[in-house]
């Protein structure tokens, strides 16, 4: 069902799927460092080397992106060719002899690093990417101990920190254009491009406009793919330390599902190790007064969004109300929300009005929780640990103050949390486990799987199906496999049968849904909507980041499809082991509706605190 992407074939992401297609079935014999091999025709030298555990340094190459071949780091010798060849962009089509190490190769690569450093302004020890920087690693790999071609001592550019999410420090840019390819090909947003020529080349926004004033959706995917610190997140940890040190402040941390599945990577663990308990301990040792589970408010989101969907269905089917927009689109990904506000402002009515779990939690903490615990909401500081850069923008939206205060004060990424933990002198994997604080320490597995693409859909179906039919979803172990996996756009349906009386109007309905991740795929879905091809669909989940939140722009670097799969696996395993697996069965959710949101999901009180409205932004920049 996936339609052609806008980009020409040469610029399509070069992912595992189409690598296999490039080999047209035939094989060719080559010699690699003197060893005879048979390889698929058309496979690149780089891939062949990786298949054979031969290290090739790369910079502009990234698994998720199309080939650019502009950094020249991956040079190798190909017999019969006068010049060295770039391994990443050399498809093998004849029986060549390749040498990946020789004096010529070593010197050329060293020169390239040297040339890059000659224009690179920055000091590693005061840099956010210290020890996690691909340029720094290459400088070490090629034994750079002096600047053969000189070194800039003055900054050439001003740092652009206008955006809540992404800071651009072009003095550290090596012009690999990974960000360009990310923003255009992977996300279809198109904020960044290289401008000018030769020495004056730089990565720029449209007419050099500050990032906050362009169509950037704050997804942070460019940060995750930048090899250096030229792009990094806007870090609020200084303000958070200050709040922690202030005894009059009650500082609360809510932690999203994805950071716990990935933060171990920041401490040297392989991807896929869940650190939930250790993270709670670390947060307390750092000085947070309470640690709550965002999954609780994910459950709350499901209640609201699910009820909203049933309400829309009822209006459309029973009342024949033409003004009701279906399918309903999810609204928990702030990158996606800004994407639709910019590119499809006339379609905003399709978006659920439910706030994201982060914002719902903030509103609940500064009202319900403040009241129950007798703390002045003005003294409450809420911090959200998120896998996401766009959450920083979201919590700063002016309309997000339904509690009478700024609902969420700071959005903190997984990387920044790891930094705070290190700074506190702690080694996360060595810490004992502890659980979340009451009263928001209980959450269902449904809230947990929000972290992966398809998770919101799966969680919503578990609840909606049961509300409508009175029975659990008819899938083995409640696992809705159709929602899972890394396919760009997934679709499936569940038949609603033997509905309870209240929902008899849905009897026999095939509940049809779509799950998409990465805004390039969102664009495909939106274009289908415009062409009327989504007639008969009921619910669409969209996540701005490839893989969903586990691949979010605030997650540990590097990220790739295989890493995202491992993180997702950790989340699904934890869900499988949860005692409560459905949002509506979370006892704390029942409690909050009994005590506080007394007129039920989508009632008046919840509308005030848990729902929001959107801005028609449009794509023109003035």
């Amino acid at each position: 069902m996936k339609k052609e992407l806008r980009s020409p074939v040469s610029q399509r992401p070069f992912n595992a799927e189409n690598i296999n297609k490039t080999g047209i079935g035939a094989e060719v014999s080559i010699e690699l460092n003197g060893k005879k091999l048979r390889v698929p025709l058309g496979r690149s030298i780089l891939d062949i080397c990786r298949d054979n555990n031969i290290h090739i340094p790369t910079l502009c190459y990234h698994e998720d992106l199309c080939i650019a071949g502009n950094c020249r780091m991956c040079l190798v010798e190909v017999e019969g060719m006068k010049n060295l060849q770039t391994a990443c962009s050399y498809p093998v089509t004849s029986p060549v002899k390749i040498k990946t190490f020789s004096n010529k190769v070593r010197k050329a690569r060293k020169h390239i690093v040297d040339l890059m450093l000659s224009e690179h302004y920055g000091e590693c020890y005061s840099c956010v990417r210290n020890n996690n920087c691909e340029l720094q690693r290459l400088a070490r790999e090629y034994g750079i101990d002096s600047y053969e071609f000189g070194h800039v001592c003055e900054p050439r550019f001003e740092v652009d920190d206008s955006s809540h999410a992404v800071v651009r420090d072009m003095d550290k840019c090596i012009l690999c254009r990974r960000c360009v390819r990310t923003c255009i090909d992977l996300q279809e947003v198109g904020v960044l491009e290289a401008v000018n020529r030769g020495y004056d080349t730089k990565i720029s926004t449209f007419m050099d406009t500050p990032l906050n004033d362009v169509i950037c959706i704050n997804c942070g995917q460019c940060i995750n793919r930048c090899p250096t610190a030229a792009l990094h997140a806007n870090d609020p940890s200084d303000q958070i330390w200050k709040a922690i040190e202030d005894p009059s402040k009650h500082v609360i941390l809510q932690t999203a599902p994805s950071p716990r599945a990935s933060i171990g990577e920041e401490f040297g663990l392989p991807p896929g190790n869940s650190m939930t308990g250790q993270l709670n301990t670390a947060a307390r040792m750092i000085g947070f007064d309470r640690v709550f589970d965002t999954n609780f408010s994910a459950d709350l989101t499901i209640m609201e969004e699910g009820t909203e969907l049933l309400g829309r269905l009822k209006k459309a089917i029973v009342d024949k109300d033409k003004s009701v927009m279906l399918p309903q689109f999810t609204s928990c990904s702030p990158g996606w929300v800004k994407f639709i506000e910019h590119f499809y402002p006339e379609k905003l009515d399709y978006l659920s009005t439910a706030k994201s779990p982060q914002q719902m939690f903030g509103a609940v903490l500064k009202t319900f929780y403040a009241e129950e615990s007798g703390i002045d909401p003005a003294d409450i500081v809420t911090v959200a640990l998120m896998p996401c850069a766009a959450k920083k923008f979201e919590c700063n939206r002016p309309e997000m103050n339904s509690s009478g205060f700024k609902d969420v004060d700071y959005g903190l990424t997984t990387r920044e949390m790891a930094k705070m933990i290190r700074e506190a002198g702690l080694v996360l994997p060595e810490l004992p486990k502890s659980s979340f604080d009451d009263p928001f320490g209980e959450a269902s597995g449904a809230g947990l799987i929000f972290g992966s693409t398809g998770g919101v859909m799966e969680a919503a179906l578990r609840t909606v199906y049961e509300l409508v039919t009175g029975r659990p979803v008819p899938f083995k172990d409640l696992n809705i496999e159709a929602c899972r996996g890394m396919k760009g756009i997934k679709e499936a349906s569940v038949k609603l049968e033997n509905c309870i009386e209240e929902f008899s109007f849905l009897e026999g309905t095939d509940l049809k849904f779509i799950v998409a991740h990465g805004t390039a795929n969102a664009k495909v879905v939106m274009d289908m909507l415009i062409k009327g091809e989504l007639e008969g669909y009921h619910f669409v989940e969209i996540m701005a980041c490839p893989g969903g939140c586990i691949g979010g722009g605030g997650q540990p670097i590097p990220t790739s499809e295989s890493i995202r799969k491992l993180r997702a696996k950790a989340i699904y395993e934890e869900d499988g082991a949860s005692a409560v697996r459905k949002s509506h069965e979370n006892p704390k959710i029942k409690y909050i509706y009994e005590k506080y949101f007394t007129d039920g999901p989508c009632g008046k009180i919840s509308h005030k605190l848990l729902h929001t409205k959107y801005t028609k932004r449009g794509k023109f920049i003035n």
């Binding site: 255009i184 198109g190 401008v195």
Partner: protein, 157 residues
């Protein structure tokens, strides 16, 4: 930019979309035609063209910035380009440029306040055998010197 100006540009862009295949491959001729008519490609029109071709405004901007003969800012009524590349420089182009800078009080890349003249340095016209060379409003002048160059420029309207 006011709405009247915007409308003019919108109309012309839609004419161009009929003239060429509305596809990213048509970007350069579209930009050339647009500049021919309006002198430069303003921010608004860059975005219009991008959306018509289903590409991103920043890509249009990138193309314009890459080509020395495409402008995203207003230029003077006359454009004088002097080659600064190596052969011309050996044959004295720097002296000629310096004289222009002094005489008209503008730096390379600038336009005189009265909007009469934009002066630019360029890299090699491919006329090295007849260097130093200069281009005035698309017309080539070969083997120039300080005096002849100033005279040509002064005669411009």
């Amino acid at each position: 930019m006011n709405d009247i100006e915007k409308n003019k540009r919108r109309e012309f862009v839609s004419e161009l979309m009929n003239k060429y295949v509305p596809d990213r491959t048509s970007l350069l001729p579209i930009l050339q035609d647009f500049q021919e008519k309006f002198g430069y490609i303003d921010e608004y029109s860059q975005q219009l063209i991008a959306f018509e071709l289903d590409i991103h405004p920043v890509e249009v901007n990138s193309v314009i910035s890459f080509y020395a003969f495409l402008y995203d800012k207003p230029v003077g009524r006359n454009i004088v380009r002097i080659c600064k590349n190596i052969v011309c420089e050996f044959n004295g182009s720097k002296e000629i440029s310096d004289a222009v800078i002094k005489e008209f009080k503008i730096n390379p890349g600038e336009t005189t306040p009265d909007g009469k003249l934009t002066f630019e340095h360029v890299n090699c016209f491919g006329l090295c055998d007849k260097s130093p060379s200069m281009m005035v409003n698309g017309e080539i002048f070969e083997n120039i010197n300080k005096e002849s160059a100033l005279k040509i420029i002064k005669e411009l309207k």
